[in-house]
């Protein structure tokens, strides 16, 4: 078991009219190498789920275990040693005023103790170049370019590479294609599939795009009102269609899914 959430609950603004139950006793287990996509309408608790795993938020009650170790009280930066993360905003995952090789050097140090030794050496440069080549974007020839000069798609591809090439225990993808134009989104989706397969990463991907959730991964989770209401894997997942998903939601909740974006996104 790589990741385990036990009975995690989280309420925002408790006791006020704005009270919001973002997570209600959520249990979740991920095995090594599982690729799970998470869907659900706005406010279903997907982002909170991610933040509770990454450590940006500490759940009110419940436990988080990574690789059998309790991490619920570890601050975000310590947990980050086990977790690779790509954000929705392409600007969020890279440092714009630093070069591509410096950004990769910082990602390389993620699971190690940072020391007073140069982050970019000749040997490491070669390694960074090889990893960049796998993206097929020509970034390997621009190692000294400032990341702020790259396009949103290029930055997101770089973020994805930075989150994955040190092979973290868990990869968290938080709607990481949502802010890109369709062709770029498709490219990043493709790279995501390749990278996850290549490093055999245990992955949790939040998406608003149902088609993407069906195309990628080998397990699908649907969330609503802070609960996991639907969890399907294996062959059953491969046979799912968008219509199945909508029907399933209707059957379980007795109402229509309330976000057009969830369908069209």
């Amino acid at each position: 078991m790589v990741l385990k959430l036990k009975d995690a609950s989280m309420t925002f603004n408790e006791g006020t009219p704005d009270e919001k139950k973002a997570l209600q006793s959520v249990d979740l287990e991920l095995d090594k190498g599982e690729f799970v996509t998470v869907i659900g309408s706005n406010g279903a608790g997907k982002s909170t789920l991610m933040n509770v795993i990454s450590g940006s938020l500490i759940p009110d009650v419940g436990d988080v275990l990574i690789d059998e170790g309790h991490v619920v009280h570890l601050p975000e930066y310590k947990r980050a040693g086990f977790i690779g993360r790509v954000f929705q905003d392409p600007m969020a995952g890279t440092a714009p005023s630093m070069t591509i090789e410096e950004n990769l050097a910082m990602a390389f140090s993620r699971d190690k103790k940072r020391k007073l030794i140069p982050g970019v050496t000749k040997k490491r440069k070669e390694m960074y170049r090889e990893y960049l080549e796998t993206l097929n974007l020509g970034l390997e020839d621009r190692l000294n370019a400032k990341v702020g000069l790259l396009s949103g798609g290029e930055r997101q591809a770089l973020s994805l590479l930075m989150a994955t090439f040190t092979e973290p225990y868990i990869l968290l993808l938080d709607e990481h294609t949502a802010a890109l134009d369709p062709s770029r989104a498709e490219l990043i989706t493709e790279i995501t599939g390749d990278v996850v397969k290549k490093f055999d990463l245990t992955t949790l991907m939040v998406t608003h795009n149902m088609q993407q959730a069906l195309d990628l991964g080998d397990r699908l989770i649907m969330m609503d009102k802070g609960q996991i209401i639907f969890d399907v894997s294996g062959e059953k997942k491969q046979e799912l269609t968008i219509k199945n998903l909508l029907d399933e939601f209707h059957r379980i909740r007795g109402r229509q899914i309330d976000s057009d974006r969830a369908v069209l996104g």
Binding site: Y77, A80, G81, F87, G93, P96, S109, K115, I117, G119
Partner: protein, 331 residues
Amino acid sequence: MLISLFGAVESGVIYALMALGVYLSFRILHFPDLTVDGSFVTGAGVAGVAIVGGMSPILATLLGAFAGFIAGCITGILHTKGKINALLAGILMMIALYSINLRLMGQPTVSMLNESTLFSQIQSWWVASGFDSFFNNIILTLGAERFSGTWLVFTVMVILTLLVKVFLDYFLKTEIGLALRATGDNQKMIRSLSANTDFLIIVGIGISNGLVALSGALIGQYGGFANVNMGIGMIVIGLASVIIGEALFGKRTIIIATLAVIGGAIVYRIVVTLALRVDFLDSGDMKLITAILVIAALVTPRILQARREKKRRLQKKAELLQRKEGEVHGA
């Protein structure tokens, strides 16, 4: 004239250490740290008291720098752990340091005129070496007026400042240094890459103020006294040096930027010295001159850039017109 200009360069190289500290907080960490006004005096005062107390000048100077480092760390702690706005944390530390400095010094001014300082200690060796007559002869053969000053302070400070610069350049390229830079650039990102940003900010502001206090300790020994008010406006001078340097010499890479900051500190001193030679300006106008300098350094590059853009557009337009005319004539 030559003597006063030389003095300006000399003190400029010493103030360059302070400017490097300000560069670290303002430009690298994007932390507008006003502790500087206080920590500069802390460096001068601690070193002064230690020297008067009989400590070796080198140790006293290092002690002054260390005191500044601690002051900076406290500002960093106030900001990261106390969640106090960066500007306010610096201001609070600045006024707190005023009282602390007064306590440390015991009196508003500590005189070091009759003490052996870092510079006076090296002097005997320096005089024996004969470098002064060597340098002065070079100047004479270059056709300048007769110059009889000593090159001691200048040489020692250039070496020291360049050493600090090289150290800083190297540090900012290490794994920890990269994380420090990213903390100023994109905090969310570097935290997701397992860097303890709170710690980096605390240490970064600490090092920044350590450099400022080192500069203060040396200025104190250079001038022969430490005064509790000598730090007033220091942050603006540091900022002026950074901005002037970047405008004149560029900031493409860290190595260029730190060199530019040193250059900026020297240029600032020269400009102030020249301005004070103008008859109707007196030393009370220093702050106004500084403000105008900073404004000029901030605005001029923008104006130049806009001019270049305009010229480029006009040129393109003219080319297009010419081509069209050519087509008309050809038809």
